[in-house]
Every structure is written in structure tokens, then in C-alpha cells.
Symmetry: D2
Subunit: 342 residues, 4 copies
């Protein structure tokens, strides 16, 4: 149901004009005269009323405002599906279940040797999924853009060696085939959260998708992007909070941990938190990872690099393997305290 | 030149380690001991030092902070090119010259008849470029996504009829060929400002590009995205301010007009302002268009629709043709007041 | 009228409980059953329903959301008073009329001699009100805090010499008496926009108040602060936009010029724009001042300092007198273009 | 040490002018010529260089930018005092020690009976400090403004009954004496974080101060406000994170938990978190309280109301006593996991 608020002194004729418009869309209306305002209650499944139709109504003479009551997303909503979606990657790795899944690894794949080393170390420390970027979104055209398929091959080799499934980013629809060949989870990065054509592409494939929150995306917009993917058939979507942009400069972004309980109310999709990008400094990663688990996250994505000082990207925010191992140990009692395992 | 600020009590050994690192990148260093801090001045063309190398230095023990002195963009900078870039579309339409260029038309191409009607009306009112979207980025998968090539064909027909060059949005690299066939200016939308692969694509073609500012992009990031395009050879880039996201809800976005004089200092690229998306309400468009001209914009992009109430997108923010004609008349004395024509 | 949206499957008993609560506040209700939601339309003058009562209703079991239809401010609203309030300072200086009023002067009063000099120069250039701070809000306790009453005496002397009325800031209710002795307009600064006790104080005196927008205040909150002042009897309030905080760092703040036309729709109070604080750099002040006039501002507040390099505060954002004189000349045709004088 | 970056092609004369200026302030300079920029390193204790002097230098011809290396606060910095400040309220309640202190109670004092009831319940549940507002900052002049001294008297009675020390807000310097009579901790609210005169007042008294973060305050500005208080002698200051303003509307504010580890690095002052105001909804309070403890907070401030539906303020964000008791139990293992007690 939607509410149309009319301006004071709106003529009968204008009201009739609005009602005709609603009927033309198969919607019933319920006019009620208040002491200060007249409002029109729109009856029927208004979730079918698209943004542009709503804007058009808002543009009609006599209309002060249109208030949307129903959420614009359906498939992603908790009302549509009551239980949290569980995404099974095989080998006992289930995202959205009692056990938290931890995705760890370097920001970008740099060379074979160090990748294998890190993969084994994070596996030994308890990570259940291996992360690494072969295609890197960089703000500067003069920066390292990733190894491409060569990097994907190294990731596959690391999976063979460690048994850990792989999550890696897809930046361009033309890379979908090659990513499908190697990845277990397709990551859609922050800057592509509203690359709608790309969302439709991954909506059409049979692989889980990790959808990162846009730098200034509202939770509603984020869920609409998930809806894009799901509307094409792919229901295996997980959401990853990684910090939003604010005026604060002490941290690279502001990690919005309240998004976790909010998402738990609004959607059935699993929620992952990436503290590494959220804060941008390695020494803030551990406390924020603990906080994310305490707030109810279903998993974590953490950057680990054998030698952060040599990292070709995001060195500043990477943990050394031994720090990661310590963190994993420290997370256990916190997970237990909120009825989870890690 | 960059500045590396060291933590108090950093050991000689750590300092030597940092200096070695700099030498390995062919950079000279200049250590100066302050009363409270020791800093290292890095000498040489540090614009070649990539983000990740900078992050890596920032991650080294003993380093408190790294302060970048040089701008990370070169080709887009005013230092690189002193005079404003003029983009000649032929037929006397030059963007970046004394005459302001006004891009007007509907948000999206809906049907042939109304498109032709609007095209003639905006041309008669003084618009010099015709705008319309055939591929539409929509936040909902259930919304109208645009007519695709059919829409482009209508735009081409409108150009034939009115003589106005066409600006239209490219959303996906796979559409580049068809867009190249029809468009005179390729628009990169807000949500794709950091779709780096798409930026490289349009950097490789011989057509002017209108680059909209991202919803939460800093001016520096925006210029880095322009640098992406220019680094591939295409120097004909114009920047379009269309509002940034803030906490204010009375307007859809907050139109950042101070970006105009700031950009005039930092870059030689022409600056266009889109007040329609910036504010999201038709009755705020005229005052903001006037303000943009007064602040020194090189052009405007304004939504005009024959019948906003029937618009399939952004009806609320579109002007009727007669309102647009009035606005164009009212803009003349303001343009004259700042030494421009319209 | 307010709208209460109920959660799906809310029991009859809960609904009765909510209706009883509304009756207890003398409000009638109108329940309408939608296909997806049941909503309660609250009839009666709900502007008397305070925030906390609304929050309490929102906290009741079964309530999904409460949507406010009426604006929470009355005295400040355009509905309450259709014509723009004109504030007459005598001597032909009327704020809110056809003629724009320009408040110019140094950020803070530093010494007698330079103050007199600047006062005469801005008067000669066309300023109609003289500004200067005697009590300065500084982010550092180690910064110059202003000359206090000595500074006010200098301002009064400048008024005597130039005939220009004085606007100066009140920071603490204990200074009200001394400010009343000297000022023609009492300025409430950005950081005190929600210093509610101070607002009530100036609401009780018979002097015009210039209310600056808070650093992150919404337009609605800003108008509520005006309502505070007006609720105590003082109707002579003017609003001053001075930039809001965003993620952008190229400017000190982001001057929100769209606030001008928005305020013109919502309120009858005059709107002043302070581009000096908004952007924080003298070379951006002129273009933004022009933009503010083009957008429909009723006046400007501009920092002018005889020698910005020696300024004890905000030197960077001050214009030299000759620059100010040039700007005043350049503003004339823009004011004329929007049907105003300056 | 500060860095002055010069514009390319700055004349020798301008450089000399700048150096003279620095000498006049008793500072030494160290000019170093880079390939692309010349910079001046300022030697000496530049923390004594005030904002306005820095702005004045920035305003000098030839200066491109001034980069501040030293932090503008001293007394509040971790460099000034290595160990976390412990604030002893007596009766074994120490803020900043191993044991977390929990401040609980209603947002505002409404009536004697319910206040006594809640005080006993929160004490029994493990709260160690009782909170309640007698002077309430309300965005609407038509809202309940608090009971004033009557409310303070009730709080004192609750303290007598439960033994819990009291924290309550000071809104106006004229109320300082009466607040001193009753409060154990003086709260400075979000909207007064930069009410500098009020900060100086509480800096002059011998009572601990709880300083809430401003709605859009950076961590640096927040610490500068603490510096204001400390500069007057009062060293017993604690910082309270309560959410910052962002574009997100699903929560009232965005609780910035990364501020906890950042503050732990920058300052020795204890850090309290108020999840109730941060999120604004009671059902989000528990997860965020847990997250705050996991992130390393020294204490919590939580709203508890006997009957939230009847609350005269912030009912929506209050917990019922039994929910609070459950939360306190659930916090124990999390506190233990990070080496703390609760």
C-alpha cells in the first residue's frame, strides 16, 4: 500500500485526475479527508508500481508527496523467505549456518610462490575460503591492474593444494567465462554494486555471488542490487559490508556494523563483513573483526599477506599470517558467546 | 615530492630500511630532524610512485604517515595544460568555449513521436545538444530498462530532423560498437564513474566523453577517472557535476556547485552541470541552473519532457518544453554577467 | 495527519491497544486494510503530537513504522505565513525585500584601526551591514578567542562612523546583555544551531536573529531551531546557509545552494548565504557569491579583511577590500537578472 | 614540524617573505628544492602555531598548501600520557580499568516512582552507574524539556536507594551549580560538543565529564573539545561515541565502532559507547552493545525504561529492564574474550 499526500486546496478535478491515473494501473484508491491534509491510500500490490510510475504520480499537480509503505524488493526480503539462506560450497563449507566462514588471503594475486605460502598458512589458521584478486579495480590507471587469468590459475592451484574454495572479483561481463572456469564464489566489488548489467550477468549463472556494499549505498539500494541478481534466477547471494564513505578521515571508510542486525531483520541473505577495507589499517582489523562477530555476522573477509611491506596493493591493511592466526584464536570465544562457531 | 613522517623514537635501523626501499625505486631522500618528529623528504618524480607502493611505505615499521604533495593525475591537470580544452562537435558547437552549450531532452527515450516533438522544442528554445537514454541504469530490476538500439535509432532520427548532436549513456562495454554508430558524445553515468574497464574502453575510441561524477566521489577521484580515459589516448573528456550524496533528504542529492571553481583551478577539462538529477525536483531546476551558470559552468544538461506526468523515468525532475524555453531566456543575462554567451 | 503502518499479522488486540492510545491523546483513527499491510490514518491536528509521543507509538508492538505527514514546524512554515518576512533594520535596510543586503567585514575584530578602515571600504563598495566577531568559537583552546566587549565597542564605533548596522555572534547566554547593548543583528553560529537554551534566550528579546545552519543539520532541523526562537515571540529570524559537512575535502564544507529554493518553498524567513565559510578559500568566494544570488538568496555574508595574511582568524577565506568592491560590481547584473537589486 | 608546499614558479622574493614571517614567530625553516615542488620544513614546536596563524600562512602568495605534521591536541594525546586514564568514582567504580562500567537508565527523568523502580532493576542487573536526563535537548520547542532540578532530586534519591553514582547532562552554563550539587559525572551532549564556553566551564570544576561525540564531528575535533576541558585543569574526561550522521536512513545514526580502536591509539582517555542513540531502535541495541565490548570499549551507556511505550522521550530506543538483564548476562563472555570484566 502507498500513500499519496495532497497539497492543501487541491481541486476536486485534480483529485479525480489522480484517481483515474491509479485506476489505469489497476489500483484501487481510498481517499480520506484529514483536518490539515487529504491523503489517498492506494490499495493493491503496489510493489508492482515501478519507480518511474511513482515519480510520475509525484509529478502530478496537487500531489505533495508519495509515501512508499512496501519495500521495493521481494525475493531478497525476510518476508519472502523466513529462514536465513544457506549457501553450500561443498566440503562442509556452508555460508549462513551456525559456523562462521572466514575468507582470507591477499588483496591481489602477485606471484605464485607467496600465494601458495599464504594459502597454506590461512588454511592452517582456520580460514575456510581463500580470497585473492586477479582483476583489480584501481583508482589510478598507472597502478597494478592484476595478473588476469594467470592469477586465476594460481588461485586454482592454491585451491588444489589447500582444498579451500576460491572467491575472486569479476569486474567486467566479458571476463565472466574465465571467472566461471576458476572461481567458487564470484565477488562483485564496491564500485560495481550498481553496475546493473553485470548484476544481471551473474544473476544468470549457477555460482554463489558475494555482493559488496557500494561506497555510499543505502541498505535499501544494496538489497535492490541483490534483487537484480536474484530476479535472474541466482538465489545464492551473500552481502558483504566493507565500510561506507563519511566525513571521518581517521579511517579509510566507516565500517557500518549496525548494518548487520538491520540486514538480519530485512533479508534472509547471509552477511559477511570485510574489516580490512572498512578501516584500511592493519592494526584496526582485529578489533573490528571481533566486533563484527559479536554483532552477528555470518562470516568475515580478511586480507592476509606474507609481507605487507612488499604488497602490490593495500599492504597497509593486510595482516601477517601469524597475526591472522592469533585473531582466529581470539575470535572463538566471541563466536561462542553469540551461539556460533568459528 | 612526498613527505614521510616517522614515529617518535624510530630506530636508525628502521630509517635505513626505509631509505633503502626508496633508493630501490630510484628516489632520493632528504632526512630532516625536527624537535618533535623526523621527516623524510622524497625527491624525484614521485607521481610515478603508485598507490600501492605508497601504501607499502605507509605499512613499514617506523612510519607514522606519508603525505602526498603532488597530484596523482597528470594529463587531466591544469599544470599539464594551461588552457581549457575545447571540444568541437562540428556545426559550431564547441564545448569549453565562450558560448555555453545546453544539453536537453528526456531522461530516457520512450516513443518516437514524443521524442521528435521534444527535440524540435528544445532546439527552438536554444538547446545545442540533444540528450536521451536508450540504456537506462535503474535501481530496480522491475523498472523500464530503456529501448536499446531502437532508442538509439530514434535519437539519430531526431538529430537528422533538428541538426542537434546526440549525447547518450554507455552502460556496458559490449554496447560500445552500437553506441559508436549513433552517439556524438558518450555519457559515462554516475554509477559507472569507477567502472575502470569501461573507462579504458572509451579511452580507446575517437568520440568525446561526458563523465558524470560518482554519487560519493571526491573531486580527486573524479579526475583520476578522467585520467583513466585520457591515459588511453582520448583527450576529449568533459566533467558533469550532478549532485553528491549527503544526509540531506529535502533534495535527492546535494548539487556541489563549488566543484565548478575548484575544477577550473585543478583541470583544463570543460565542466557541465546537471541540475535535474542534482535536485530531483523540477521546480528546483531553474534556480540551480542559473546558479551553475553564475558559478562558471561551461554547459548544462537539463531534462525536458513533453508530459512529465507520463514520463517512464524521472518525470518528477523534468521540465515542460515551455518552462525550458523560459529558463533559456532567463539564463542569457546571467551568462552575459559572467562574460559568457548562451 | 499521520500514518501508522502495522506489521503483517498484527493481532486485533494490538490494534485496539494502539487505537486506545490515540484516543487518549484526543486523536481519531481510520483503519484501512490493504492487501499487504494494514495502516491507521490518524485524524486531527497531529502537529501537537510531540516527537516522544511519536517515538512511543513507534515502539508499540505491532507497529512497523510511523509516517509523519505534517511538518513539525508551524510558525516558520510558508503555510503559516505566505509572504516572505521583511526585517527592517531602519535606515532603509530591509532584509527579505527586493534589494539584497550584503553583510561584510572581518571574521573577528582584531584591532580598532584596521576595523575602521575595513568598515569604510566595505560601506563604500556597497555593503549595507557590517560584520565582525567579538566572541569567537575556535576549535582549539589555544587559539585567539576574540576581544569580547572591547571588540563590541569597536564595532559600535565603526557603526557610528559608517552608519552600517552591526551583526555579531552570541556564544553564551551570559553574554546576551552586553550583545544587546551593541548589536543590531544577533548571530547564532553553526555550532550553536541546536544550543536550544540559547535559542530560547534570543527568542525572548527584541532584536533580529541570524541563524546559521548546523554543520550537519537537515533543512528540517534548521527550521525547527528557527521555530524554537519564534515560539518565544521573536519573529524576526533570518536563515544563513554556510556549508554542510560532506566527504569532499577540496573545500572546507560543501555550500548547499539548493537549500535556497527549498527554503523558499518551505518557509517565509529570509535566506542569507555565507560563501566565505562555505568554501574556506578566498578565490572560490566570488563564484559562489554569484551563484547564491542567481539561486535566489536574499542576502550575502562575506568576509573582508584589510590584510588577510595578517588575519588572526580565517585569513585564508577573506577577500581584500578591492576584491570585494569588484565582486559587488559583478553581482549587480546577476541580481538584476533574477529581478533583484544589490 | 609543519610543511609548507610552494606553488611552482614562486619567486625568491615571495619565499623570503614567507621565511621572514616564520622567523617573526620564532620558527626555523628548512627549504628543500624538489624536482616538481619546493617545500619549506618548519622546525620548532609548531603545536604552538594556532589555526589562524596557519590559515594566514596558507593565505600568503606562493603557498600552495600547509601540511600539519603534529597533532593539534597535547593533553589528550597518548604521546602526552602513555597509560589509559582511570577515573575513580569511589565505591569501587573505576572507569578505564579492567572492569567495564555500564551506565543505564531512562533517557529522561519522568516521574519519581518509575525512576526508583528502574534504578533498582538496572543495579540488580549489574549496571554500575545510573543515567537520566533532567535537562533535555529536544529538537522541538513543543517537546518535553525535562523536569529540571526536580528531576535531579529524584536522581539523587535513586542514588541514595541504590548506591549507584549518577550521570546527567548539563546544557547551559547557568545550570552548572545545580548540576554540581547532584551529579557524579557531568554529561556534555552531542549538540554541545563544540559549545566551547560550556567546555571551559566544566574544565574548571572538580567532577568527571562524559563528552559525547558531535553528530558530524571528526575524531580530531572531538579530541580538541576534550583538550578544551583539560586545558582548564579538569583531566577526568571520558569520550562517548553515540553515532555519526551519514546518508543511511535505516538507523537514526551510524555507530562508528572503529572510533574505539582509533581512540585507543590517539588518546589515553576512556571510551564509552552509547548504542541506544547510535541506532535509535531497541532491537538493534543488544548486538551493537556486544560489538562495542568486543571492539574494546571501556564502558557502555544504555537506555532502560520500565515501559518504553509510555516513555516521554526516546521510547523507541529503550530496553525493558528484563531485556537489559539478559544483555548484561550475554556481555560477560564477550568481555572475558577481550580480557575484560563486566
Amino acid at each position: 500500500m502507498d500513500i499519496i499526500v495532497l497539497l492543501p486546496e487541491t481541486s476536486e478535478e485534480h483529485i479525480r485526475h489522480i484517481l483515474k491515473k491509479l485506476e489505469s494501473k489497476g489500483l484501487k484508491a481510498n481517499v480520506s479527508q484529514g483536518t490539515e491534509r487529504t491523503i489517498i491510500g492506494v490499495i493493491g500490490d503496489t510493489s508492482k508500481v515501478t519507480e518511474e510510475e511513482e515519480d510520475a504520480i509525484r509529478a502530478m499537480s496537487g500531489v505533495e508527496n508519495v509515501v512508499r509503505i512496501l519495500k521495493p524488493y521481494k525475493l531478497a526480503s525476510r518476508e519472502f523467505r523466513r529462514t536465513t539462506t544457506e549457501i553450500d560450497l561443498g566440503g562442509g563449507v556452508v555460508i549462513g549456518g551456525k559456523k562462521l566462514q572466514v575468507m582470507a588471503g591477499p588483496c591481489s594475486v602477485e606471484n605464485r610462490a607467496s600465494l601458495m605460502l599464504v594459502a597454506e598458512k590461512v588454511r592452517d589458521a582456520g580460514a575456510t575460503i581463500f580470497r585473492g584478486g586477479a582483476f583489480k579495480p584501481r583508482t589510478s590507471p598507472y597502478s597494478f591492474q592484476g595478473l588476469g587469468e594467470e592469477g586465476l590459475a594460481y588461485l586454482a592451484e592454491a585451491r588444489k593444494k589447500t582444498g579451500l574454495p576460491i572467491v575472486t572479483e569479476l569486474m567486467d561481463s566479458r571476463d565472466l567465462d574465465v571467472i566461471m572456469k576458476y572461481a567458487d564464489i564470484i565477488q562483485i566489488g564496491t564500485r560495481n554494486m550498481q553496475n546493473f548489467r553485470l548484476l544481471l550477468e551473474v544473476g544468470g549463472v549457477d555460482k554463489p555471488v558475494l555482493l559488496k556494499r557500494g561506497l555510499s549505498a543505502t541498505i535499501k539500494e544494496w538489497l535492490m542490487s541483490a534483487e537484480y541478481i536474484m530476479s535472474r534466477g541466482n538465489q545464492r547471494v551473500m552481502l558483504c559490508e566493507r565500510g561506507i564513505r563519511t566525513f571521518e578521515t581517521a579511517t579509510r571508510n566507516t565500517l557500518d556494523l549496525s548494518a548487520i542486525p538491520v540486514l538480519k531483520q530485512l533479508t534472509h541473505l547471509p552477511v559477511i563483513v570485510d574489516p580490512s577495507h572498512g578501516v584500511g589499517k592493519w592494526d584496526l582489523v582485529a578489533p573490528m573483526a571481533k566486533a563484527a562477530v559479536a554483532a552477528g555476522a555470518d562470516g568475515l573477509m580478511i586480507e592476509v599477506h606474507a609481507n605487507p611491506e612488499e604488497a602490490l596493493s593495500d599492504g597497509e591493511q593486510s595482516l601477517r599470517p601469524e597475526m591472522f592466526a592469533t585473531l582466529m584464536r581470539e575470535l572463538k570465544p566471541i563466536a561462542a558467546a553469540v551461539g556460533r562457531e568459528i
